[in-house]
């Protein structure tokens, strides 16, 4: 079956049958595009729905799990990765996916983020990076570019920006990638790659919050913001060949970093092996 042609059927198969729609998101929000991409990636990998756990923090993006027909946990602001760490070690056979926002993952949850990377625990983290705090009405985030406007940066942001990709690489994650909500097919491949990777994987997804970021920074509506992603994204393969001056107004997308470090649960099992002990698994 051509999965793309049957996209809508596939999507419905993975949405909760009894959950009321519409969702909480603004029309045109990138969160929905990421949700669709995630569903199609999971479908293409033929994952057992029941072995998938989706954990989120708090934010517009973190509302995603309630719509998804998996085991889903909507936790507290910033703590999804810590929560997911518990789930993963308790049930290593589950596919654990974390949906998080840029504020959720990099501000209040920054510590959990770097330590989850460092442990290289097998969690696929989809960071929906809209460069702003959406849920609370548009305050600046650690990802907001210098000079951009937000309700708490009325004269332009005077702080510097975090690069989630560099942070993850520096912290020890074994799969680090970036996509956008414009390049959906690439995004699906990156998510699939992350799900296939045994270790911590990050998909940093540039997404549009036209309601706040777009409006405050005169970047236009959802369509205009998607066009911006189209214009400024540079696939890593091409970027590697370009001189730095050609990259000034571009950002890199694709699979940026991959290594084969031992995964955390594997490491723990090796310890138990050394001690000659069998792990007690949850019923």
């Amino acid at each position: 079956m051509d999965k793309i042609a049957h996209g809508s059927d596939v999507t419905h198969h993975y949405l909760r049958p009894k959950k009321k729609f519409p969702n909480v998101w603004c029309a045109g929000c990138g969160n929905g595009i990421v949700m669709g991409a995630l569903i199609r990636s999971i479908d293409r990998l033929n994952l057992d729905k029941d072995k998938v756990v989706v954990v989120s923090g708090i934010g517009c993006s973190s509302r995603m799990p309630v719509y998804l027909d998996f085991n889903t946990l909507h936790t507290t602001h910033g703590r999804a990765l810590a929560f997911a760490t518990g789930v993963k070690v308790a049930k290593p056979d589950l596919k654990v996916i974390v949906i998080t926002g840029d504020g959720d993952a990099l501000a209040i949850g920054g510590n959990h983020f770097i330590h989850a990377c460092r442990r290289n625990i097998d969690i696929t983290t989809i960071l929906i990076n809209n460069k702003i705090y959406g849920m609370t009405g548009g305050q600046f985030a650690p990802t907001t570019p210098g000079g951009s406007f937000a309700t708490t940066a009325p004269y332009g942001n005077y702080e510097k920006q975090f690069d989630a990709v560099k942070l993850a690489i520096g912290s020890g994650a074994s799969y680090v990638s970036r996509g956008t909500v414009y390049h959906v097919q690439q995004l699906e491949k990156l998510i699939e790659g992350g799900l296939n990777k045994r270790g911590f994987s990050l998909v940093d997804v540039y997404s549009n919050c036209h309601t706040y970021y777009g409006r405050f920074n005169k970047e236009g509506d959802a369509v205009k913001m998607l066009e911006w992603f189209k214009k400024h994204a540079m696939p890593i393969e091409a970027a590697r060949k370009l001189p730095p001056e050609k990259m000034v107004d571009k950002f890199v997308t694709g699979l940026i970093h991959e290594t084969d470090a031992t995964e955390f649960c594997q490491e723990y099992d090796m310890l138990l092996d050394r001690l000659g002990v069998k792990k007690e698994v949850a019923k």
């Binding site: 072995k51 936790t75 810590a82 760490t85 518990g86 308790a90 002990v277």
Partner: protein, 385 residues
């Protein structure tokens, strides 16, 4: 259900309260521990880190206490009995996710080895000043269960009891011990596994698609749903309905919060555990918990030798507070005295329940050491005047 014999260190030991608590957790079937080192609780984590890998349990030293509390909730929802321990500042950091555990109705055990506060306070010295924080430290309206051991032996026993209560009532349970009990080394007798009763988690017997995570019926505690078994349920810290889905209105809030409160209030008689000595016919009752109940004993004996009719209550569960019993006794005695290592926290509850029927007093203390029995004796003599 009984404890697993291969992991229970049956026999007589010489252990401190923290190590005894770790052994209690192991006997109770706890197999996930997530924690962050902090004095004076660290020995629990250390013993667990040494014991768990040898019995197939999982120890993860988390990056902070926010993560620790989150991880034990995650592991518990993954089907593994889980625990953390902390003190002072760490307890403050855990409060938000403690509330999440309450809201998600997730069983787990958290041990607070209390030290002197506020702030960094006295890392190596005792206090009992987190008692109201234990009661009300997370935002919102809810009930808690908190136990206070007075010895290493009881640290072992109450840790098992805490796991049992947490499974029975489907909620996090607190052990509010203190530095003295945590670091005091005494004889601890660990019984054989077949003498240790464990409450196992109740999972739904309905089929996937027919069961929801919070089937509240106003009476029994709803069974949990296992992950990875086809139920594909959602749980959230938002106000939710029986299905676990967020519902943002006053009606849903009433139902949800009611459940969190009623399951403890309506079962208070089952949860509350007191020890009483000579309370019948007493003129004065000395109340306390944890280490302070041991320190009060010589003062009580001295007052009794003076001819004062005096009794003692030791609260093994501090929360929920034994309201009914205190109201009843307050009508019969002349005075009630609370002994605690703070300036009157649990005292406020005792005074509220006494409701003017008798004189009340607190033997306050800023922490850092235990009371001098003579200071307690003086207050006793004062209230009989």
């Amino acid at each position: 259900m009984k404890a697993k014999p291969e992991n229970v260190l049956t026999g007589s030991h010489y252990l401190d309260g923290n190590h005894a608590s770790a052994e209690g957790a192991i006997a109770a079937g706890c197999r996930f521990f997530g924690g962050y080192p902090i004095t004076p609780s660290t020995e629990i984590a250390e013993r667990i880190s040494q014991r768990f890998p040898r019995i197939g349990g999982i120890f993860v030293q988390m990056e902070d206490e926010l993560a620790s509390m989150a991880a034990i909730l995650g592991a518990s929802n993954g089907g593994v009995k889980s625990m953390s321990c902390t003190s002072g500042p760490g307890f403050s950091l855990m409060m938000e996710n403690f509330g999440l555990g309450i809201m998600m109705e997730t069983p787990c055990v958290l041990v607070n080895v209390q030290r002197g506060g506020p702030s960094t306070g006295l890392p190596t010295l005792p206090g009992q000043a987190d008692m109201m924080q234990a009661r009300w430290g997370s935002h919102g309206d809810y009930e808690v269960i908190a136990l206070a051991p007075d010895s290493p032996q009881e640290s072992f026993e109450l840790t098992i009891h805490a796991f049992n209560l947490s499974e029975k009532y489907r909620m996090p349970v607190l052990i509010m011990t203190d530095e003295c009990v945590g670091h005091m080394t005494e004889k601890v007798v660990i019984p054989s596994a077949d003498e240790i009763d464990l409450v196992e988690r109740k999972y739904t017997d309905k089929k996937p698609g027919e069961a929801w995570p919070y089937e509240w019926n106003g009476k029994s505690i709803p069974p949990m749903l296992p992950v990875g078994k086809g139920y594909k349920f959602h749980i959230t810290g938002l106000t939710h309905d029986e299905k676990g889905y967020p519902v943002i209105n006053a009606e849903a809030q009433e139902k949800n919060v009611r459940q969190l409160i009623d399951k403890v209030k309506k079962n208070a008689d089952d949860i509350i555990w007191l020890e009483e000595w000579d309370t019948d016919g007493a003129d004065i009752i000395v109340m306390s918990y944890g280490i302070s109940s041991r320190v009060a004993r010589p003062a009580i004996a001295k007052a009794r030798a003076d001819g004062i009719k005096i009794g003692q209550i030791r609260m093994i569960t501090v929360w929920p507070f034994p309201e009914k019993r205190i109201r009843e006794l307050a009508g019969k005695v002349k005075a009630m005295v609370m002994v605690e290592l703070n300036h009157g926290q649990v005292y406020l509850e005792m005074d509220r329940c006494a409701a003017g029927q008798c004189v009340t007093a607190v033997v306050g203390h800023s922490g850092g050491t235990v009371h001098k029995p003579d200071d307690i004796y003086k207050v006793i003599k004062d209230v009989v005047k």
